[in-house]
Symmetry: none
Subunit: 258 residues, 2 copies
């Protein structure tokens, strides 16, 4: 199965959104994380028209699907996940915390399943009736002082988690896998570390400068030189930095000498 098909096997479903900005924000989050299937259930009609006419949203919403019921929206899914904040309700479904969701989704996709991720309206979230269509409830861990998230932000957070931590999604070449550190383009040679002999040359110049400027008493010299050598190795000099530093200390020595 290709990545495109994998990304297509997740449906983002918005139930009765009221605010056109939130529909646009949800569509943008889908596009940001490479998900292509957005379904809007029973939108407040002026909202839908406003969302569709918003700048830039046309492209994002053109392929969105409209349904009148949640049942219809999730009809072809094999796993339906409702979203909410943990403490909003006593759930009748099993609750999985968002940071622990990836393996659940990965397993479903491995079995050629289809996953629907369902978001409720801004005011009330998913109703008990909506939740009856859900196998599990995904809890975004939020502070008890402000548990309720903005709709567009909660869509973004959920899709970020899945795009980076479900291997089938993260394997796409443009989404960096979570566990491996960012694989970066090969650095410019000027950005690579200087050879050790340049570090030692710099250390010598700084020592000479310290002596010329009478930075410390002679009795401290050995200890200072030791610390300096350690410090220079710890610092991530590039070759470019090294050339600058050598030039600067040569110049300083010349000035002090005149």
């Amino acid at each position: 199965m290709t990545t495109e098909q994998q990304h297509a096997s997740l449906d983002v479903v918005l139930v009765r959104p009221r605010n056109p900005l939130n529909i646009g924000a949800a569509a943008r989050a889908c596009a940001n994380f490479g998900f292509t299937r957005l379904t809007v259930v029973d939108p407040y009609d002026p909202t839908w028209r406003a969302a569709c006419s918003a700048v830039d949203a046309e492209f994002l919403l053109a392929s969105a699907r409209l349904t009148s019921t949640l049942a219809e929206a999730v009809a072809t899914a094999t796993l339906v996940l409702g979203t909410g904040s943990v403490d909003r309700r006593k759930s009748e479904q099993p609750v999985v915390a968002l940071p622990a969701l990836a393996p659940v989704v990965a397993q479903e996709l491995a079995g050629a399943g289809r996953v629907a991720l369902v978001f409720g309206s801004e005011k009330h979230g998913l109703t008990r009736e909506d939740l009856a269509w859900c196998h599990q409830l995904v809890a975004i861990p939020t502070s008890p002082l402000q548990p309720s998230m903005n709709l567009g932000q909660s869509v973004a957070v959920c899709l970020y988690e899945l795009a980076t931590r479900v291997p089938a999604f993260a394997g796409d070449n443009h989404i960096l896998p979570a566990d491996t550190a960012a694989s970066l383009p090969a650095p410019d040679p000027a950005d690579t570390h200087p050879v050790m002999q340049d570090l030692d040359r710099l250390a010598s110049l700084i020592e000479e400068t310290m002596a010329a400027a009478r930075y410390s008493p002679a009795s401290m010299r050995a200890a200072n030189e030791h610390d300096l050598r350690l410090a220079l190795r710890r610092m991530a000099f590039t070759r470019h930095d090294m050339r600058r530093a050598l030039g600067l200390f040569r110049r300083i020595l010349w000035r002090i000498g005149h």
Copy 2:
């Protein structure tokens, strides 16, 4: 250290936001994930007033800090992280993918450090000038077809990642730990990062030294200062190194002056 104090050791910094809705959304994301420190740098003035007068935003923005420069906003931070999408620019800073960021932040907090997470304006993100204040660039992995995220959504995604995957934040009873990493040993205070204002003090001293030593023509000064700021942030100065370096350059300046 209690969780509240830990949450207080991360600053969210918005640079020149234009849209009041985005300021409100960023403030809400902070509250959702238990972060209490929000700084807004040089907001477009009508924007700031509109954001503050928006429904529900008063409570969230009441404790926000306003500064006129990014330098001021990050003055007491020990690690400054810029945010952006990977492919927007060839970075002059090391890039870390957001899913790999938690250990970096955890280590900084273990050393009693303060982290600033910096977001650029809606239109252009962080400028090259802004990025010169950053040690590292955090890349949110997004699709090349739609790499640019909404400001409020990118704040939410970053704070979700840190709130759930940095043990010091996730340890709070309401945020479920993603995978409990071993607690890091506390480093020697002398080995921890210096605060930004010390780095800036050193940068100023070196600039003065360059001028006093006539290191380069005046026409090169701005470029040199930019490079110097980048280089100092890349180098892993400890507080101890910093004291030495400040002392040395003060001494050099004094010698050149006599």
